[in-house]
């Protein structure tokens, strides 16, 4: 589904070139569960932003379902972000003045979906994910773990094929973190391709493919069989 070929992202920082992502190559298949680990500043977020089409590379190739994305216009990239990619942030980024339901609807709202249809889809999703209690609550009335699960629902409301999460448990205690991880894995079991950036070794170890990044490059990858993952305790 995804082919990265020698993808680089360089920043100019005070006249010095920082290679946040350096000739990075990887293939990701539909349904993969990938964790990305590595020291701070190793380029994990940079990689995720590239995969999420939030940022453009300095050089290299990124094919999404065979389509070269690096030459797409901003409007086409926005469209792909809207219906093919879901993003989960460490800081949730829910809109305070909207209810949980309205937050979940937002990607559909932006896409111009009919209001009653999107309301129905968002409620169905929240019920399916066991979040129906929070439907009409506002983010500030929810705990961190609850907020992050609402944010995950928002990320998958358009039924994207790729779900990206940048330290989704970074702001959470272990119990809330576990509920978030559970939800992400449930979505992966339902078929979504999942890429999680994390500092949490236990969480990282649950993925089928575990990438270790150093200095913008792929340092190593270890592969786990499906059987091992499901046994590991949360």
């Amino acid at each position: 589904m995804i082919e990265l070929q020698a993808l680089s992202r360089h920043y100019l920082l005070g006249g010095e070139e920082v290679k946040a992502l350096d000739q990075f190559s990887i293939n990701i298949a539909a349904g993969d569960y990938i964790s990305v680990m590595g020291p701070s500043g190793s380029g994990k977020s940079t990689l995720l932003n590239q995969l999420g089409l939030l940022d453009t590379p300095t050089s290299g190739s990124f094919r999404f379902d065979g389509v070269e994305t690096t030459t797409l216009g901003e409007a086409e990239r926005a469209k792909l972000r809207n219906n093919q990619i879901g993003f989960v942030f460490q800081a949730y980024h829910l809109i305070d003045r909207l209810t949980a339901l309205e937050n979940v609807e937002l990607p559909l709202t932006l896409a111009g979906t009919d209001p009653s249809l999107r309301r129905e889809r968002a409620s169905e999703l929240l019920i399916k994910l066991g979040l129906e209690r929070f439907l009409h609550q506002r983010p500030q009335q929810l705990s961190g773990g609850q907020r992050q699960r609402i944010a995950i629902a928002r990320a998958v409301i358009t039924q994207p094929r790729l779900l990206l999460a940048d330290e989704p448990t970074g702001n959470l205690d272990s119990h809330s973190g576990a509920s978030v991880v559970e939800l992400l894995e449930q979505l992966n079991n339902d078929g979504i391709t999942l890429v999680v950036v994390t500092h949490d070794a236990d969480l990282g170890a649950r993925a089928e493919r575990q990438l270790l990044m150093v200095d913008g490059q792929l340092s190593s990858e270890s592969v786990l069989s499906k059987g091992e993952t499901s046994d590991a305790p949360l």
Partner: protein, 405 residues
Amino acid sequence: MRLSDQLAFSLQLFLRQKFRTLMALLAVSIGVMSVLLLTGLSEGARKFVLQEFSLLGKDTLIMLPGRKETQGGLPPLTGESSRDLTLEDAAALNRLAEVEYTVPLIAGLSEAYAGGLNRELIVLGSNERLLELRGLSLQQGRNLPMSSDQTRSPVAIIGAGVAQELFPASSPLGEWIRLGDRRFRITGVLEPSGVSLGTDMSNAVIIPIQASQQLFNSPGLFRLIIKLYSADQLKTVQPAMLNLIASRHAGEPDVTLITQDALLSTFNQILGVLTAAVVGIASISLLVAGVLIMNITLISVTQRTAEIGLLKALGAPQQTVLGLFLLEAGILALIGALLGVILAVILLTLAHLNWPAMPLQIPLWALVSAVSVAIGVALLFAWLPARKASRMDPVDALRGVANAN
């Protein structure tokens, strides 16, 4: 994104930021209101003046003694001073085929005595056609005698205000009024009417022209109003009149002819410039409102940087982000402008109640342009910050860093 969703999005923001929203509404509404109030007032003044002076019909000319250059030079100071315009001149003009009738005028102030009371009055010497020409009517009594009637009867018509002041208790008809050293019998009282050609007729006395010549000891007319049979002859008859006057005044056409159109267009020009100046000054307040909206949009963009990043990450294209911020400014301007219109209408209506003579309504052009300028200014000023928002890098914006590239 649907327009209805964009509207809902903006509305939720306004509810969140009541104070800021209120400030913007206030600024825009004050701007629009002051433009409308000032145009309403100066348009009212313009209409008022035009209405007053259009009492002179399109088929009417005014002849003044002395030659005034149209370019506004001084009247001739040296050489032969101009001759008086006389009743004989009027009679000669009256014999022109195009002329229906002429109304001579002599005006002056005189002390008036009646029934033990006295006051200073405007005295107009004229003939029986004056009332018809000016659209005045009598409340009681009868008009001046025909000027063909050479009896020079000492009679007077008094304004309604004069009647009330000098004869508070009884009917003035048949009573004597003394002007200077002459006595006149009152034969008519005018209907209380407004101001005509700049003279408050309610405080005037009208006497036969010959009597006023004696009263003010002046054979010359103050002005001569000439009524034609048809307005079509207005242009062609003027040279004939000047020729006639020249032949009677030793070859000099030493009079000035004024038409209603010339008079009105001069007034119109002066008052039009006045209106424009006043509107220009008021527009500054619209500009101030625009700057305020720009600041509000700028603050909004800065405060909502992370939200902009989120919207972009969720797939909002640039024009959606641009549209959201422009819509916000546009709605503020529209609601503010409507409030301003309502305020202006209320204030002008109150003013009109206190000052019924003035036609104080807001011209449509002012309404349309004030509202559209307010919205235009708001969009124009909001455009820069909105474009900045739409061009933000989503990764930077999500981190709360507001610099666009």
